[in-house]
Structures are given as structure tokens and as C-alpha cells.
């Protein structure tokens, strides 16, 4: 038997039915989604974050623990792609007023994220009810979360640029004492250490990302050492160029000299730099602390420490993961409370987060024996007082235009295609362009 042929009328009717059904679904997701997606009596809490790799695993584990302890909250977490795509998406969601209840944001990007229009402020009383107060955080980092007297971001951690070292090579080069790296005091001392390491292995002593797609390590490198000279890139309000030529040149010429002398691997991208250090070829590696999971997994004999003070103070480049409340047209009620509950819970349980290398921003955790037992993570916890975040500007912060553009410029110094002086001129030109450009997301509060 052949099935009856589909007549045009029937097809049209069917199509109309399907359309109607889609419409019904649409209206459900538009108004009643929270009630349907969460179970009866539950509050839906949507949370967007950008944590992949080892961080992603840690975050998932923490979220699962939270779920287990909070059956009244239906937590729906979405992991989105790190970097520019994430911030594009978060901005658009906030602009539409239909954003998730909670999201992660790099603290240094706050100024460019239109607090008051794309973000809603935290309810500090609500946080205090959960035992989270201003005094529990380093003052500077907490203040960076404020705009116009309101708290738009609550910091979860600091993730600084740190110095990894291969313990066996350093031992061979005579750079260790008592199982730790001997203190390095000053730029010449560091160069000597690299020379000793080179003697021990016959390879450059230091490796760090010098080039590649969206390569930002050269910027981190410059930013760390330049901050050590006491210089700032922009004025404190982020509105004027404050780059000090003499200090910047000192840093750039030092880096160029390390490269020329063959003390640092000249051409290597991010993955390559991990590979070189992991392969036991170099004694030192400069990178964010988050790669700790990679080297622990491979069983490399390594440890890590704060970046030594080469140019004065021991400042280092960093950013902070923080929580924000993306703008919702009708923020409030149980979902908003659930968001505050999760934030407080995450802060108090951030030992698990510290396993990924990050230094918790919630101070009580820094004295937690469980955290102190984490080695080498707790070795560099003091860094939290010396971190150099970008000045507050709309184009600054993780994966921002500042990082990507200046990363490309300083990459040229490391690969040898730009002289330090040329790079400085170019960096200043680009910074001036960025400063002259109107903030595309002017916020109500900024």
C-alpha cells in the first residue's frame, strides 16, 4: 500500500500547525522558561563563564558541589569560549536585558563594560547575609569592582604572571638552595641565572610565548617589568597616556638583550613555549599561574615563584576573575538571591578553585590550612598585594584591544623585527588612538 500523497492543502495545514506549535514554544521560552526549566519549587539560576581546560574541570566540580548542597536552586551553567567572543556575547545579552542571572568577568574589563547598563550592581546587604563583606578582600581589588559608588564586580581570584622553574636544571646550574630557587635580586642577577642555566643545558634559559595568534604574553611581560619600575601606562583614571619613555625603554632594551644573547627562546608560540618547558629544555618559564595543571599532569620536576623584582618593586601583571550580574530588565526576587548565594558559596569554597593556580581573593581562604597545604600554589600567595591591573579604561583588561594590539607590538621586540625604540613609538601611537576613540559602550555609571 502506498501512503496517500501529501496534498498541497494538507501540507499547508501541517505547516501552519508546526508554526503555531513553534509560536507556543516561543512564548513559553519567552515568559515561562524559569518555571519549566527548573523543577517544582526550584529557582532557576543561569550562570555563564569562560573557564575551559583545568579551570573548567575545577569549576564544574565546584558547581556540582553547590548543586548537591542547594536542591532549591536549579543551576544551569554554560561554558562559553574564552576571550573576545565571550565578551561580545555577554554584552549583547546585557543590552537586551535578558541576560543570565550571573556571569564571570575579568575585573580589568569592568570599566569598558558599561556598568549600570550592561551590568547590575550587587546587593551588598544580601552578600553580607551570606557572610561576605568588603573587609574580606584586598582593598585595591575590591575597589576595582566599584563604579559610581556601587559594587558591580565581586572578585574571585587574582591570576598573576609568575615564574616557573625546572628544579633539576636549576639544581644543576647551582641556582637552588634548600629545595627552592635562590633569591634573584635585580635584572643583572636574573641574566646571570639565565646564563648559568644555559651553561647547564646548552639551551636558552628562559622560554615564554613571543608570537602567535592573539599573542598577549609580550604585553604581560612588558606590563610586569614596567610596573616594577613604578611606571604606569595610563593615568590613574585611565584617560591619559602616562607611559614613561626612559622606564619603558629600560625594560624593552633588557628584553631585547636577553633575546640577542640567546638567553631566551626567540620564536615560539604559546603552545610551543609550554612544550619547550615541559620537554625539560629550559630552566625558566614565564606565564600565568593557570598552567600549573599542565605541568603537574606531565609530572615535570618544577616549582613556581613570584616574578623577582628586576626593576625595583616586585609588582607583576595580573587580572582577576570576578562575578558580575549582567543586566536583566526585571532583576530581583528569588533568582537574584540565588545568584548572590552562589557568589558567596564560591568565595568561601575557593580552595578548590586555587588548585588551578589562582590566588583566592577572599582573604579568609588564604589562611585556610587546606590552601596552605597546596604546593606550589600557596608559595606565591603574597603576590595578591603587588598585582598590577591595567588602569581602568574601556579598551583594557584580559583579551582586550590593548592586550592584543600591544602584544603584537612587543612581540616584534622579542622576535627581533622591531627595535625597542620603534616598539615604544608604535605602542604610544596605538595607545593614543585607543584613548582618542570614544568608548563604544558608554555606561550609565562610568
Amino acid at each position: 500500500m502506498q501512503p496517500p500523497l501529501l496534498s498541497r492543502r494538507r501540507a499547508l495545514a501541517g505547516g501552519a500547525g508546526a508554526l503555531a506549535a513553534a509560536g507556543a514554544l516561543g512564548s513559553l521560552s519567552g515568559c515561562a522558561a524559569p518555571a519549566t526549566a527548573a523543577g517544582p519549587g526550584q529557582t532557576l539560576l543561569r550562570y555563564w563563564h569562560l573557564f575551559g581546560g583545568g579551570d573548567g574541570v575545577n569549576m564544574q566540580g565546584m558547581l556540582d558541589d553547590f548543586r548537591a548542597g542547594h536542591p532549591e536552586i536549579a543551576l544551569e551553567a554554560s561554558t562559553l569560549q574564552w576571550g573576545a567572543p565571550y565578551y561580545t556575547k555577554l554584552g549583547m545579552a546585557g543590552a537586551g536585558g535578558r541576560a543570565p542571572e550571573l556571569a564571570a568577568l575579568h575585573l580589568a574589563r569592568l570599566a569598558g563594560f558599561a556598568p549600570g547598563r550592561l551590568l547590575d550592581p550587587f546587593d551588598l546587604d544580601l552578600l553580607a547575609e551570606h557572610g561576605v563583606r568588603e573587609k574580606d578582600f584586598p582593598t585595591d581589588i575590591w575597589r576595582r569592582g566599584q563604579v559610581g559608588g556601587k559594587q558591580y564586580a565581586v572578585p574571585l581570584d587574582t591570576h598573576p604572571f609568575v615564574l616557573y622553574y625546572q628544579t633539576e636544571i636549576c639544581e644543576k646550574a647551582g641556582l637552588m638552595s634548600g629545595g627552592r630557587l635562590k633569591p634573584i635580586s635585580g635584572a643583572d642577577d636574573f641574566a646571570d641565572a639565565l646564563r648559568a642555566a644555559k651553561k647547564a643545558t646548552g639551551q636558552p634559559g628562559l622560554v615564554t610565548e613571543t608570537l602567535g595568534p592573539d599573542c598577549i604574553t609580550p604585553w604581560r611581560l612588558f606590563s610586569s617589568f614596567y610596573a616594577q619600575t613604578g611606571g604606569t601606562v595610563l593615568s590613574a583614571d585611565g584617560k591619559r597616556l602616562a607611559l614613561d619613555d626612559a622606564k619603558a625603554l629600560r625594560v624593552l632594551e633588557y628584553l631585547a638583550r636577553l633575546i640577542e644573547e640567546g638567553l631566551m627562546v626567540r620564536r615560539v608560540d604559546y603552545a610551543g613555549s609550554i612544550g619547550v618547558f615541559n620537554g625539560g629544555k629550559t630552566a625558566f618559564h614565564l606565564n600565568g599561574e593557570w598552567e600549573i595543571t599542565t605541568f603537574k599532569t606531565t609530572g615535570l620536576p618544577f616549582s613556581m615563584t613570584r616574578i623577582p623584582a628586576l626593576f625595583g618593586t616586585a609588582a607583576t601583571q595580573a587580572d582577576c576573575h570576578s562575578f558580575v550580574l549582567p543586566h536583566q530588565a526585571d532583576r530581583g526576587g528569588a533568582p537574584n538571591e540565588a545568584a548572590h548565594t552562589l557568589v558567596a558559596w564560591m568565595l568561601k569554597n575557593s580552595v578548590a578553585w586555587a588548585e588551578g593556580g589562582h590566588v583566592p581573593a577572599y582573604l579568609p581562604v588564604l589562611d585556610d590550612p587546606a590552601y596552605l597545604a597546596l604546593k606550589p600554589q600557596s608559595e606565591y600567595r603574597t603576590v595578591i598585594d603587588d598585582v598590577a591591573l591595567d588602569e581602568p579604561a574601556w579598551f583594557a583588561g584580559s583579551a582586550s584591544r590593548l592586550w592584543i594590539e600591544l602584544g603584537a607590538v612587543f612581540s616584534g621586540v622579542l622576535t627581533g623585527s622591531r627595535s625597542p625604540r620603534n616598539a615604544l613609538t608604535e605602542a604610544k601611537a596605538r595607545l593614543r588612538t585607543l584613548l582618542d576613540t570614544r568608548n563604544p559602550l558608554p555606561g550609565a555609571a562610568s
Binding site: A84, P85, T88, G91, M92, G94, A95, G96, G112, A114, R117, L118, L211, G212, P213, D214, C215, R267, V268, D269, F395, A399, S400, R401, I404, A408, V409, S411, G412, T415, S417, R418, A429, T433, T437, R438, P440, L441, P442
Partner: protein, 320 residues
């Protein structure tokens, strides 16, 4: 439009010819007879997804529109003035043009040579066609990752291994050295897309009447003369088409660079489309990104208009 009449099946071509002679009758015809009813769905899609975005983009380029759809103050030609003064626009535009120059020549020449070879080789012809066309079927992401991870890595990549096999160990930073990065992207693109030009040439070769060659042979023309005086002239229209299609395709370079070098080292391979992407999506400046797009659009439009003009002049000269 020449392209629509060329693509239309033969029966439709007739009324089109007569319509020129008797416009009054044509106007009074029912709209179904014009085929409007049949192309209406296409027209709707065309209007909705091409004409409207074009107008909307032009409008955006005159505003300070940001990624969130807010902002949007009218700023007149400010964005254009800024773009003209922006050295990054010029450097990325230059990278785009340089890539187009570097890639078009080998893509056309290699496509032609492969087609001539495949046309001559009578044994397992399907194999030549398949193997030369096959890379074109792969998505750009696959091709780029293949070159990025297997062929171009210095030290262990196939390219360096081949050099090592002949006794050279230069350890070239194929994608990380400014001297080679663009060339590596060109090489990847040639391998990936030459199949399309090859196919166009092969089809054109097969359309050359055999009696021309027979006559030439009777007159004692050798292989070289036949190639120079029959094959290449008969392929000239195809060559014109291939060159224009290739120039347009190359100008639109984005994927390969985005995946393989991200525009680096030091922005030396960043094409204009990536700059538009950076301004729009990393920098949130949709208005400015639109203005840069329109400057680029003007360039593409110029290139695509030059070809029909040239070929018309050629046709007129031939008719004289």
C-alpha cells in the same frame, strides 16, 4: 545583466531578445509570464539578506553604533575620516592586496598547467581530476589545521623534514617568521583552492573543437604552436573569468590567516577583514567597522567592474 542571460536556459533567451524590439507588448504582459512569480522567493531572500543589510550597514557606518545595538548616534563621515587616517587600515589593506597578488598568479597558472596535464593524460583520468580537485572539498578549518600542525611546524613538520632530507636544516619559522608567514599562507591557499580553477580550465579545454587541432596538425603546427595559437587563445575568456573570480576570492581572505597566524607575526599577515572583525567584535565598534567594510567594498566593486569593462573592450576590438 549579462550573467543572468548567460545562465538562463535557451528558451528564455528568445523573449528577452524580442522584448528589446517591442517594449509596449512586454510591459502589458501578466507578471507570471515574466517569471516574476517564480523568482519572487529568491527576490525576497535577496532583498532581506543582501539589499537590506547593505543599506543598514551603510547607515551604521555613519553612526557610532556599538555591538549591543545601543549608541548609534549619527556622526556623519567621521568614521570614514578616521579610517582614512588609520595606519592599521592601510597596512591591513596592503596585506590583503599583497596576498591577492601573491596568490592569484600561482592559482591561475598552476590551475592551467594541471588542466593541460589532466587533459593530455588519457590513463586513469578520473584519478588526476579527483586528486587535484579533492583538497577544494575540504573545509578551510581542516586545511589550515593540517598545514598548521603537520606540514609547517618547524623542526618536525613535513616541510622541514623534506628540507632535511635534501641535507638542509634551516628550521624555518614558516608561520612565525615575517619573511615566510604570508608565503606559507599563500602556499596553503594554492594547495587548497587550485582545484576550482583547474576544473574551470578543464571544462574549457574539453570545449575546444578537435577539428581546430586537426587542421593545425595538417598545416604542420607542432605541440608548442598548437598550445600558443589555439589552446591559449581559445581559453582567454575562461582566463578572464578565472582571474576575476580568483582576485575576488583572494581579496576576501580571512579564515586561513585567522586560524594559522591570527594576523601575526606583528600584524604582518592581518588582512582587512580581520581588522574589521577586531574593530567590530573585540573593540565593539560596529559603526567604525562598517565604515572600514565599505571602504573595502568599494575596492572589491572596482575590481569586479574592471573585468567586464575590459572583456567588453576586447570583444569590441575583436568585432572590428
Amino acid at each position: 545583466m549579462t550573467s543572468t542571460t548567460a545562465a538562463a536556459p535557451a528558451p528564455v533567451a528568445k523573449p528577452a531578445e524580442s522584448a528589446g524590439g517591442r517594449p509596449s507588448r512586454a510591459v502589458h504582459r501578466k507578471w507570471t509570464e515574466h517569471g516574476l512569480v517564480f523568482i519572487a522567493p529568491f527576490l525576497l531572500v535577496y532583498a532581506g539578506f543582501l539589499i537590506w543589510p547593505l543599506i543598514s550597514g551603510l547607515h551604521m557606518s555613519l553612526t557610532s553604533e556599538n555591538i549591543t545595538g545601543t549608541g548609534g548616534e549619527f556622526v556623519g563621515l567621521d568614521n570614514y575620516a578616521e579610517a582614512v587616517r588609520d595606519p592599521e587600515v592601510w597596512s591591513s589593506l596592503w596585506n590583503t592586496v599583497w596576498f591577492t597578488v601573491l596568490s592569484t598568479v600561482p592559482l591561475v597558472v598552476v590551475g592551467l598547467v594541471l588542466a593541460l596535464l589532466a587533459h593530455q593524460l588519457r590513463v586513469v583520468q578520473w584519478l588526476w581530476r579527483l586528486s587535484w580537485f579533492a583538497p577544494f572539498l575540504l573545509p578551510s578549518g581542516v586545511v589550515c589545521l593540517l598545514f598548521l600542525n603537520m606540514i609547517l611546524p618547524s623542526d618536525f613538520g613535513l616541510a622541514d623534514q623534506l628540507l632535511a632530507a635534501v641535507g638542509l636544516t634551516p628550521e624555518i619559522g614558516w608561520l612565525t617568521d615575517e619573511r615566510y608567514a604570508m608565503l606559507s599562507i599563500v602556499a596553503t591557499t594554492v594547495w587548497w583552492t587550485v582545484g576550482f580553477n583547474f576544473l574551470l580550465y578543464l571544462a574549457a579545454l574539453q570545449a575546444i573543437p578537435a577539428h581546430l587541432y586537426e587542421a593545425a596538425e595538417l598545416d604542420g603546427a607542432g605541440a608548442g604552436k598548437r598550445l600558443l595559437h589555439i589552446t591559449l587563445p581559445m581559453l582567454s575568456r575562461t582566463t578572464g573569468l578565472v582571474v576575476v573570480l580568483q582576485v575576488l576570492a583572494s581579496l576576501k581572505i580571512f579564515d586561513q590567516v585567522y586560524i594559522m597566524t591570527g594576523g601575526g607575526p606583528d600584524d604582518s599577515t592581518r588582512p582587512i577583514l580581520q581588522y574589521v572583525y577586531q574593530q567590530g567584535f573585540t573593540g565593539y565598534r560596529i559603526g567604525y567597522a562598517s565604515a572600514v567594510s565599505y571602504i573595502f567594498f568599494a575596492l572589491i566593486l572596482t575590481v569586479s567592474l574592471v573585468q567586464p569593462l575590459l572583456s567588453r573592450r576586447r570583444a569590441e576590438e575583436a568585432a572590428k
